[in-house]
């Protein structure tokens, strides 16, 4: 496979930043998954698409809008009616999904080079994200595994909660650097660390 270059490379500064003297509020990182794919089911074929994703990845997507699942190196979530993002730390998911998502079920798009995955983790993660997105980030409204499609100004973001205080954000690669810098500015007041 072609080696992937991070769009964040020139601005990715490992270490502590902002007002971290009183503790680190959030940890920011780029997770760089090998596979980021999008499955779209034709109307009425959603159940077969979910079954195909399960067969390939072992991930059992729950029913319902914005439902998702996280299991170690893999994650999947619904981001629109009949549409799912499936992510794997390893490369090669797109090839396997292409076989499983037959033309009768729907389509598979490989976005591994088109999206950048940014992780925000820590006690102030909800607080920092709430400055960007008009979405309820509280755990009862946004449970672990679930995902939301939203925008910060015109930057599309798919956000999956992958832990009690951890969120993985998928943004367009071309917007990733500016989004990353904005995230850093927003996290300054709580103190942040780039891992």
């Amino acid at each position: 496979m072609v080696e992937r270059l991070s769009p964040l490379e020139s601005v990715y500064r490992v270490g502590s930043h902002g007002r971290f003297e009183d503790g680190v509020g959030v940890i920011l990182s780029e997770t760089r998954p090998g596979s980021i794919t999008q499955v779209a089911a034709w109307p009425g074929e959603e159940a077969r698409a979910i079954a195909a994703i399960r067969k390939v990845s072992g991930l059992a997507l729950p029913d319902g809008a914005g439902g998702g699942v996280v299991d170690g190196d893999k994650a999947a979530f619904g981001f629109a009616p009949g549409k799912f993002t499936v992510v794997d730390e390893a490369e090669g998911l797109a090839v396997a999904l292409t076989k499983a998502i037959t033309p009768a079920i729907g389509t598979m798009t490989d976005l591994s080079h088109g999206r950048t995955a940014i992780r925000i983790e820590g006690p102030e993660a909800e607080w920092v994200l709430a400055k960007f997105f008009a979405v309820d980030f509280a755990l009862p409204a946004f449970p672990v595994g679930a995902a939301r499609s939203t925008t910060h100004h015109d930057v599309f973001a798919q956000i999956q909660r992958t832990g009690g205080d951890r969120f993985d954000i998928y943004v367009f690669r071309s917007f990733a650097r500016s989004f990353w810098k904005a995230l850093g500015h927003a996290a300054e007041e709580v103190g942040y660390e780039v891992a």
Binding site: P43, A65, G66, F79, A80, P81, K83, A134, V135, R148, S149, T150, T151, D154, F156
Partner: protein
């Protein structure tokens, strides 16, 4: 103003794009009925009350939704996906120059 996307739940109106009056019905592409085209392009009921509208959740799941919004109170009494929804449209043909 908040709109409740049938998929995403309540979201700020800034995430949505207005796609126009939901009562319009486009004539067949080869239609020669000038009055039908005129109605489709220009005639709007502009009601003070419930209005049938098409919106897109363009800053979210990108679904098209059919919204019944009260133009006086902004109360949205119904938001359903366009796909699979019953197509509401006014039954009476509006006379040119008629008041709403």
């Amino acid at each position: 103003m908040l709109l409740t996307c049938p998929y995403c739940g309540p979201r700020d109106v800034s995430e949505f794009t207005y796609q126009g009056d939901g009562n319009r019905q486009r004539p067949a592409p080869n239609s020669q009925d000038l009055q039908a085209w005129n109605e489709y392009v220009y005639d709007r009921q502009n009601p003070a009350g419930d209005h049938n509208e098409i919106w897109q959740h363009s800053g979210g799941c990108r679904s098209h939704i059919r919204v019944i919004r009260n133009t006086v109170s902004h109360v949205t009494s119904s938001t359903v996906p366009v796909r699979g929804a019953v197509h509401h449209r006014s039954t009476e043909r509006r006379k040119p120059g008629a008041k709403a």
